[in-house]
């Protein structure tokens, strides 16, 4: 909410400068987004009188003028405006003047004629016609009144003004008003708020002869006040009012509309004015809309209305959407003769819903949504009528209508000063608390420690002791809160086992050269289609978001793979020659639900690599290294994920549990993700890893007897899987075998077609003696026998 300083000073004359006040307001909880000086870009523009105005000798549209700016010699100024004429009072930008947009005025010649400045239009000095309507239309601004020649134009136009832009907290609708903010300003700066005297001058007649009001929904409209103004004299607002509104960021329309806006800004009570001659039957009915009704609002748009939406109707049709926007038909125009002011209170939730449903947000609706104080509405209405009288904009008809069937009581709170100070953590005395609350307009009765507090009418947010604590503390000073460390019973604290596990995995993977990536949890439904999954794959069952930002982020992901592939592709296409990436994140399963009915969330780990030194085996090595470090023993078998190369895809299992898959990205999928080079990925179940992970046991003693090494080269059919072969050879060798490694793979026409030679190294060791040749030969014999079952024979 923007408030010009002069509006605050009108009620808080001793308020400090804008910058000082801004700082003080921030520290009592009224955030100031910025302090703007309206005319900061304008400098050196003064009032001048056009003495002479002759056509330019070398131009058919320029004029050569002499302008008196209060000095001994008039200035020579060339002016191109069609409306310039001798005798006018105009703004003159002198040599060296600054104008909005960084414009600087220099001495110069225009078509041979000397020009010592510029006669300005409103636009050129940042002054729109609503702020200061020029005499006549297009062209330079012509002042309507006499001002001293040479005087700075900024004070005249209201451009020498500091405007504070407040960010109003959701619990302080009272601060959506100049009065509310001025009261805060008075407390913040230790001065006084002066409430103006409000007097309504009635000019006879009887309101009941002009209008009748019925409220059919007291819940949605707890209070409705109406006043009638006759002999309405619609015209422009006085300059001061236009300047106030301009500073607050509103446009001046006419005196009547400006009064309603001024009242809304000053008191926080939105008002509405109806042209009574356009109100059928001179009857106002406040009710919910019925099916099929519609209205054309002030902005010319037609809206269909539904039940639940509150409307202000005349005898036959809706003429205003309550608290949101008026209808076109009953709008105040220059022809308006008799009008009705409405100052009502509408339910915040209903207003919010209607505003959302119709897509209309106005200054009025945003105030009602946050809550408008029901008890202060009459004050606002009286103030509006006072302004009508003072501005001679019409005659206030005697009498008023105030439908307020269930007057709200005063809100009271009982509290303890000691508890307030203890909660705040500062040594505030009961006297200090009392005096702060009184400064904030609370009526306080204190008996020792006990407080009985009557809350001001517009402070509906204060309902309990904790609220009073905040009120007292924010004025006492948040900066005086000391810092103390926690006391009392200690707690062990610490990370959960799952978090520790993830930390360990991250540490291992970063040590292995992997960078951690993070992707959004929602994806496009098409991201899974790009993986080529079979139609019945569970990963198609994605949790949809009802109001997504767009199709690309409309469902919660069921796999981390598409994001991994996209990130790999991005790196490839950004010219990064190699990368190792991993992500630890959740997937969402809408089919299976928790007891609370929430979709199951599961932790997954995805890993991906590409680059010249990488291949299927390097990724498998990295994955196995990780699993080994977690104490997980796995069996590797051929896998068949659709997004992986059918010949280069493995599934990792531990018993019946599938930990995940490792493989090369299928070329079709690479095409789908625009990946120019091969990549290898792993998709792992982190929860399974967690469950299978084992802590390390005791260390083994150092061996006391020497190891014996036997190498063996076996020739076998090309399609023999070495993994199972090695596993079985090791099993058959018995307990003397300490380790077996594969150290060479060899293919050659010399060996024959369709075969490969694999070299193994077997290490034997006895626990309690040095092995004999017989023992080793016997074990090697068993190994060879097993190998024969795989058609693997010793290479000759």
């Amino acid at each position: 909410m923007k408030v010009p300083m002069k509006w605050i000073r009108r009620y808080v004359p001793e308020a400090p400068s804008a910058d000082v006040l801004a700082e003080k307001m921030i520290m009592i909880g009224n955030a100031v987004e910025n302090v703007e000086n309206l005319g900061s870009e304008v400098e050196g523009v003064v009032v001048g009188k056009v003495l002479t105005c002759e056509p330019h000798p070398n131009s058919d549209h320029l004029h050569v003028c002499t302008v008196d700016v209060g000095e001994t010699e008039p200035l020579h100024i060339v002016c191109g405006a069609p409306n310039v004429a001798a005798g006018q009072l105009v703004p003159v930008a002198r040599i060296g003047a600054r104008l909005p947009g960084g414009v600087r005025i220099k001495k110069g010649k225009l078509r041979g004629e000397l020009s010592e400045g510029m006669i300005c239009s409103g636009d050129e000095i940042g002054c729109p016609p609503e702020l200061y309507p020029s005499v006549g239309s297009a062209g330079i601004l012509v002042f309507q009144e006499e001002y001293p020649l040479g005087a700075d134009v900024k004070p005249i136009l209201g451009l020498d003004e500091d405007v504070l832009d407040f960010e109003i907290l959701a619990n302080r609708p009272d601060c959506l008003s100049v009065w509310g903010l001025s009261r805060e300003a008075a407390v913040a700066s230790g001065t006084t708020f002066h409430m103006p005297e409000i007097v309504v001058t009635e000019k006879g007649g009887d309101i009941h002869d002009y209008v009748s009001v019925e409220v059919h929904d007291e819940k949605l409209c707890p209070r409705y006040i109406a006043r009638v103004i006759r002999n309405v004299r619609v015209g422009p607002s006085p300059l001061w009012l236009r300047q106030y509104l301009y500073g607050a960021g509103m446009r001046s329309i006419n005196n009547v509309v400006d009064i309603t806006n001024f009242i809304m800004l000053e008191t926080g009570h939105p008002m509405h004015a109806f042209d009574l001659d356009m109100v059928e039957g001179r009857k106002i009915i406040v009710r919910q809309a019925v099916e099929g009704e519609h209205i054309t609002t002030l902005d010319g748009k037609q809206h269909d209305l539904t039940p639940g939406q509150l409307v202000i109707c005349d005898a036959v049709k809706p003429s205003c959407v309550a608290g949101i926007m008026g209808g076109e038909e009953s709008e105040i125009t220059e022809k308006t003769h008799t009008m009705m002011f409405e100052c009502a209170v509408f339910d915040y939730a209903a207003t919010r819903q209607t505003s959302r449903a119709l897509g209309i947000r106005t200054e009025s609706s945003s105030r009602f949504e946050k809550g408008v104080s029901v008890r202060t509405a009459m004050q606002a209405m009286d103030r509006a009528c006072q302004m009508i009288h003072e501005m001679d904009a019409g005659d206030v008809v005697s009498g008023l209508i105030d439908l307020y069937p269930h007057p709200a009581g005063q809100q009271t709170v009982d509290a303890s000063c000691e508890r307030i100070a203890r909660r705040a953590g500062v040594p505030m005395s009961p006297e200090e608390i009392e005096s702060i609350l009184k400064a904030l307009r609370f009526e306080v009765t204190r008996d020792g420690d006990a407080l009985h507090v009557v809350v001001p009418d517009d402070r509906q947010d204060v309902t309990m002791e904790a609220d009073l604590c905040e009120e007292a503390l924010r004025v006492y000073g948040y900066d005086k809160i000391p810092g103390t460390l926690l006391r009392g019973e200690t707690t062990p604290g610490g990370r959960s086992a799952a978090m520790l596990m993830r930390m360990k995995i991250s540490d291992l993977l970063t040590g292995l050269g992997f960078y951690e990536i993070m992707n959004f949890s929602f994806v496009s439904p098409r991201s899974v289609e790009k993986l080529g999954l079979s139609a019945e794959d569970a990963r198609y069952q994605m949790l949809p978001i009802r109001n997504p930002l767009g199709e690309d982020t409309s469902v919660m992901r069921t796999t981390l793979v598409p994001d991994l592939l996209r990130t790999l592709a991005l790196n490839m296409n950004h010219g990064n020659t190699a990368a190792r990436l991993f992500e630890i994140s959740r997937i969402f399963d809408p089919v299976h639900r928790t007891e609370e009915g929430l979709p199951m969330e599961h932790m997954r780990l995805s890993m991906g690599i590409y680059g010249n030194h990488e291949d299927f085996y390097s990724l498998r090595g990295l994955v196995e290294c990780l699993l080994q470090q977690l104490g997980i023993e796995i069996v590797i078998a051929r896998g068949r994920e659709t997004f992986l190369h059918p010949g280069r895809s493995a599934v990792l299992q531990a018993g019946d549990c599938v930990i995940g898959t490792v493989g090369e990205v299928h070329p079709d999928v690479r095409d789908n993700f625009e990946m120019p080079v091969r990549a290898w990925i792993a998709d792992l179940d982190l929860e399974a890893m967690m469950a299978l992970s084992t802590a390390m046991g005791e260390v083994k003693p150092m061996p006391r007897y020497p190891a014996v090494n036997r190498d063996l080269s076996l020739v076998m059919p090309e399609d023999t899987e070495v993994g199972p072969l090695m596993r079985e050879m090791a099993q058959s060798a018995g307990s003397l075998l300490e380790d077996v490694k594969m150290f060479d793979v060899y293919r050659s026409p010399v060996l024959g077609l369709g075969v490969k030679s694999i070299a193994f190294s077997f290490i034997f060791r006895g626990q309690d003696h040095t092995l004999t040749e017989e023992e080793i030969s016997s074990a090697m014999g068993k190994i060879l026998k097993t190998a024969e079952q795989y058609q693997a024979v010793i290479r000759s």
């Binding site: 909880g29 959701a170 460390l485 990370r495 951690e516 929602f522």
Partner: protein, 342 residues
């Protein structure tokens, strides 16, 4: 020629030959030639038979002394040669120590997780337990128990992604406050880091997915000063000595009193700079005393217990900490960005 003369001659020869012996092989040849089985000194010893018996002991002693002396000379020379040879070898093996090398590649944790880890470390040290909860959350926990009923204006500030009328993507980590209170008895000290969602379009400073860390303490006589002390400790731990907090009154439905918390700008240490827009302070988190209504809804007797809560945005901390100007970089995964973290 007598034995003595012969020895003297051999000594002369040894001296001259050894002087030119540049390697161990030549030296060995000299040794063999002189002291070996067929060497000249050995021959001299053998020739002693021709001497008169009474001359033999003296001659024998001379020869033995000569053997000892020659052996010593050879050893000394051998040591010299060894030193020389090692020197030569060292020279030969000289490398260009400035030539570029291949470094093993170490990856890095994501900046958000680096920041999160540091914070978790700080708070676990203060006795906080780390909790995690669902990202797809019940409206009940996300809003109702946080004192934000339906149509409450505070819902406006949190543009919510809905799954259905009762289920949302959590808009903050605060629902974990409720989950912690409903499952634990005071004293409660928990932090809840995690991912949250708001319907913000992606730009340099906004993301519909981001991360927060909630903190909650419930005990007897917990107050605003405890909140400040705890956050001061946090600020100093994360940003270093001299970094402290500034509290400003604010509003959150689930705390009362509520506060915005600024930290001393770590770039200028409070002097005012471009990063803190000249104020010397950076707004990083919000907190306050847990609203008694929230305590009661979550089964904690507000007449016995009080508590504080705070919520920190991790993206903001990471961006300030590492000078990241565009939030999108953190969700893009380009290794040229990720590779800078160490």
């Amino acid at each position: 020629m007598g034995v003595k003369e012969k020895i003297s001659e051999l000594h002369e020869r040894m001296l001259s030959e050894m002087a030119s012996a540049e390697n161990r092989q030549t030296l060995e040849e000299i040794r063999v030639h002189m002291l070996g089985k067929k060497g000249e000194l050995t021959a001299l010893l053998r020739s002693m038979g021709q001497l008169a018996p009474e001359e033999r002991p003296a001659a024998g002693q001379l020869i033995n002394e000569a053997r000892e002396k020659f052996t010593g000379m050879i050893e000394k020379r051998a040591a010299e040669i060894k030193v020389r040879e090692r020197e030569l070898a060292l020279e030969r093996e000289t490398l260009d120590v400035t030539q570029p090398v291949e470094k093993p590649l170490i990856g890095s944790k994501h900046p958000i997780n680096r920041v999160m880890d540091e914070m978790v470390e700080c708070f676990t040290g203060l006795g906080f337990e780390v909790l995690e909860g669902p990202e797809v959350e019940l409206d009940h926990y996300n809003f109702e128990l946080m004192n934000i009923p339906k149509n409450h204006p505070a819902r406006d500030a949190q543009d919510t992604f809905y799954v259905d009328d009762n289920i949302v993507l959590r808009t903050h980590t605060s629902p974990m406050q409720a989950r912690a209170m409903l499952t634990r008895k005071p004293p409660i000290r928990v932090i809840c880091p995690g991912r949250v969602y708001r319907a913000d379009e992606v730009d340099a400073t906004h993301s519909p997915v981001f991360h927060q860390m909630e903190g909650l303490v419930i005990d007897k006589d917990v107050n605003m000063a405890d909140l400040r002390g705890t956050l001061n400790a946090f600020a100093e731990r994360i940003y270093g000595k001299g970094i402290t907090t500034r509290f400003r009154p604010s509003f959150f439905p689930f705390t009362e009193p509520s506060t915005e918390v600024d930290l001393t700008c770590s770039a200028c240490h409070g002097a005012g700079c471009r990063i803190c827009k000249g104020t010397g302070w950076i707004e990083v988190l919000g907190g306050g005393m847990v609203n008694p209504k929230v305590l009661e809804m979550c089964g904690i007797d507000s007449s016995v217990y009080s508590g504080f809560a705070f919520g920190i945005g991790l993206e903001r901390i990471a961006m300030l900490r590492y000078g990241i100007k565009d939030m999108r970089l953190m969700y893009e995964g380009d290794v040229r960005f990720l590779g800078q973290f160490r």
